[in-house]
Structures are given as structure tokens and as C-alpha cells.
Point group: C2
Chain length 264, copies 2
């Protein structure tokens, strides 16, 4: 599982301030820190309070890339902001995200094709998030078909089955696990899979514990990536361990450090 | 996942001494402690150094049952010792274990039928432990067929896919995960599944971390039980969390305590 470090997000006070004052310090500190702890991408989200999302996204992408060589994951529901980010990305980025809604898929897959970007596709549509695995997989199939129709390799598509907090949507848990497994049967090569990890623990008491246990259980069902706290030491140790158990990295006593230093 | 508490084992010095001196103190302390921390069974193993395994097993079973109301898991390759334990068990026990070897299956399933015991069946035979999932599942099928031939409900059979240390048998990890999944397709109702948890981490540096991450990954693939350290607080928290994520227990903020107190 690749960690998409979630910390450069205007929802956090230091990043909101950085955007407001055009001071790159906090952004670049988090970029460097997440890279040094093993994140594979940097999520970039201007947050809810920004008036000019297009210029904020462009600026965040520019300053983050000055501090880190990681690819960016452009996180916004404003596709103009995403396109502004794609224009300044020095290497292929990830678009986060598109639901299985036709006009949105048209716009996003077109951008992805133009900028050679990866895409996170959400297993939801106008009617919301389905409860059972079958309906989630049907929406994943729509995303696969649209991705393919734009000539984008399916391995550039990350399906997010959509995780609900375990204290309110507990019955979604097994359905998400089943969805992750079934997505790997949709095509050959199959799409990749991703989750927004912290969703599982919203409103619960021991959030970090629930996050990391969910992450490795999902990995056992084929999860490829998660937008997550790339500075959570125990999450990183759990993910590195799961990679050993799944025979994805070779065991050595210092495998957690090896995982962290993979980008160096 | 049910924890079969592994601590009453003559391989530990205090238990070996207890058996030698016929002093039940240590045995009963561990029986009570494991029960209080949420174990569902007590594994009973006389250890390697005992000359009279039959009388040692009988004595361990008797004194453990004076301290705890948990069912016992009789752990020996000496079937006479197991039968001696079964004779004194006050409630249905678990036999640990039998490989897919005909004369051994004949003896063990006959005992299981007579004493209404559950059975752990190992996915191995005279040729050893197979590497791939398919061969493990074929051996599981032999165990299922023999169990059924003795009129024992298949839900009383626990298949152990056999876990190897991740530092020497790393390629077995994904095969074990796949085996756990496929075993659930063998019959309806399917057999249960069990592992000897500590095997995965033998010879590694951070054993507890690897044990608990493997446990919850295996749970995500249907693992029902594990012979494990029933006093490992972090393992217990991980297992309790996995049960929440799989919607097996209802979420509340104190779910770890609820898991521990399930036997009270």
C-alpha cells in the first residue's frame, strides 16, 4: 500500500494560513516530512475556506514541488482548480477524484488523458454511496469503462470503494472488504484501489488504532493506496509489516526503516 | 477471531515446574489471567520434557478447570495424552491437532466423535507442508471428508493452513491468506480456520508487531481462531478492532474492554 500523505490540506490551520499569506514554509515542511517518512504521493487540497481555488491550487503545487520530488495528488471537487494544478505538475499527477457521473467522468478522464494523470474514481453516483459490494462494483465498472474509452491504461485508475465511519456505518465494513476483492477481478490488468483512511474512524475514540487495523485488513484484500496521515509512526509500521506478510518487500530486521527510506 | 490462550505449555519454565512439582498455582494463575483478558479457550500442552504425558495432561486439565470455566484445547502429538485429557474435560474440548494422514485422522475423529470434541486439522501430510494454496486446500478437503465420514459437524473442524516464519518462508504468506479464503468455500456450513499465530514471527525482531498485523489480515480473510498470547494487550486491541471493522461486535467507545469481558 502506498501512502498518499494527507497533510497539505487547507482544512489544517497552518496550511490555510500559508495559503492566505503566500508563505510556503509550512507547506514545504510537511512536503519534506511526509516524503522522509515513506509517503509515495503528496495530497494537495486547498481546503474549504479559499475564495480563489484555482490560484491557490497552482501555488500549493508549485511550492510543494520545490521541497519534494514526490508526485502530487490533486484533491478538489473544483475541476478548474485541478486543471490549474495539472498545468504546473512536473511529473504525472493523480486526480482526486471523480464519481461515476457521466459529465464529471467526461471532464476528468479528458484531463487525465491530456496530462497523463492517474485518476481516483469514487464508487458513488448522483444517488449517493451504495450499501452493498455488488452495487459498488457496478459503479467501479462504469469508471473502468469510461477510463478505457479515453484510452487511459486501467492501471492508472484507482477505485475508491468509499469507507464510512465504523460507529455509524458498521455494516459497510465487510462490504468494502468484498468490494476491494472484486475490483481486482474487473479487468486484466485490474484497476488499483484506494481509500480515504481516516473516514473509517471519524467520531470514534481511538482513531489511530482503528485507522491502522483497517488499513492492513484492506491490504489483505488488495488495497493499493490510502490517503492517510503519512507521519503516523504506528500506521507506517503496520503498513510496512503488512507488505512483508504479503511478500511485497523482502524481510530484514529493519524493514520499517527501509519502507520509510524508499524514496531516498 | 477467538483467542486460544497459549500460556499453559510445559515449554514455559513455570508450567514445567508446576507439572514436575504438582503445584497448580502457576497453571491456575494463567488460566484465570487469560480468561480475564478475553481468551475463548485455554491451550493445554505438557511440553517437550515430560516423561508421563498421559498423567501430566490429565492433571493440567483438572487443575485448569478448577480455575477457569473456559473450554480446553488439548495440544499434543500423543493421542493417548489427548484422550486422557478428554476423559476429564467437563465440557466439549478441542483436539490440537491432526494432519491429513489416514491412520491419525481415523484415531482423532473417532475420539472427537466419542467425546463430542472439536478438531484442529493441519493442512499437511507425510510429505510436509505444501507451498501453494491449492495443495493446502486439497489437504483441507481430505480433513473435511474424514470429519464428515465420522458424522462430526463440519463447523466443529478448524483447519490450520500452517503458517511459516515470514523471515524464511515469506512466499507462504499470500498462499496462507488465499487458503483461508478458499477453505470457506469447501462446504456449507464451511469449516472454521485457525492458526498458530506466533509461527509467523519466529526469529524476527519485532515479534508482537508482526503477530498482531498478521492476525488482523488473516481475520480479513475469514480467520476464526488463533493459538496466541492471550495476555498481549496490543494483540487484544487489534483483534477487538478487527471484529468491529468486520461488524462482528457492535461499536462502542469501550469495545476493547467489552471484548476482554466477553467471558464474564
Amino acid at each position: 500500500m502506498i501512502i498518499i500523505g494527507e497533510r497539505i490540506n487547507g482544512m489544517f490551520r497552518d496550511i490555510a494560513k500559508a495559503i492566505r499569506e503566500k508563505d510556503p514554509t509550512a507547506v514545504q515542511e510537511w512536503a519534506r516530512k511526509q516524503e522522509a517518512m515513506g509517503s509515495g504521493y503528496l495530497d494537495i487540497n486547498v481546503g474549504p475556506a479559499v475564495s480563489d481555488r484555482v490560484s491557490a491550487m497552482r501555488w500549493l503545487c508549485e511550492v510543494a514541488q520545490e521541497a519534494s520530488k514526490l508526485p502530487l495528488c490533486l484533491d478538489s471537487t473544483d475541476y478548474d482548480a485541478i486543471e490549474a494544478g495539472l498545468e504546473v505538475c512536473k511529473q504525472p499527477a493523480m486526480i482526486n477524484s471523480v464519481p461515476a457521473v457521466q459529465e464529471k467522468m467526461d471532464r476528468v478522464f479528458q484531463m487525465a488523458s491530456k496530462y497523463n494523470a492517474e485518476v481516483i474514481g469514487l464508487a458513488m453516483n448522483e444517488e449517493g454511496i451504495p450499501k452493498d459490494a455488488e452495487s459498488r462494483v457496478a459503479l467501479a465498472m462504469e469508471l473502468v469503462a469510461n477510463c478505457d474509452a479515453h484510452g487511459i491504461p486501467i492501471s492508472n485508475l484507482y477505485i475508491d470503494p468509499l469507507v464510512l465511519p465504523c460507529n455509524v456505518g458498521q455494516d459497510h465494513g465487510p462490504e468494502v472488504m468484498e468490494t476491494l476483492r472484486q475490483i481486482k477481478l474487473l479487468s486484466d490488468p485490474p484497476p488499483k484501489t484506494v481509500v480515504g483512511l481516516s473516514n473509517i474512524s471519524q467520531g470514534t475514540k481511538d482513531r489511530d488504532l482503528i485507522n491502522r487495523i483497517f488499513a492492513v485488513m484492506a491490504m489483505a484484500n488488495g488495497l493499493d493506496a490510502a490517503i492517510a496521515d503519512g507521519c503516523d509512526e504506528e500506521l507506517i509500521a503496520a503498513v510496512a509489516t503488512a507488505r512483508i506478510i504479503l511478500n511485497m518487500d523482502i524481510y530484514c530486521d529493519s524493514y520499517v526503516d527501509v519502507f520509510k527510506n524508499q524514496n531516498l
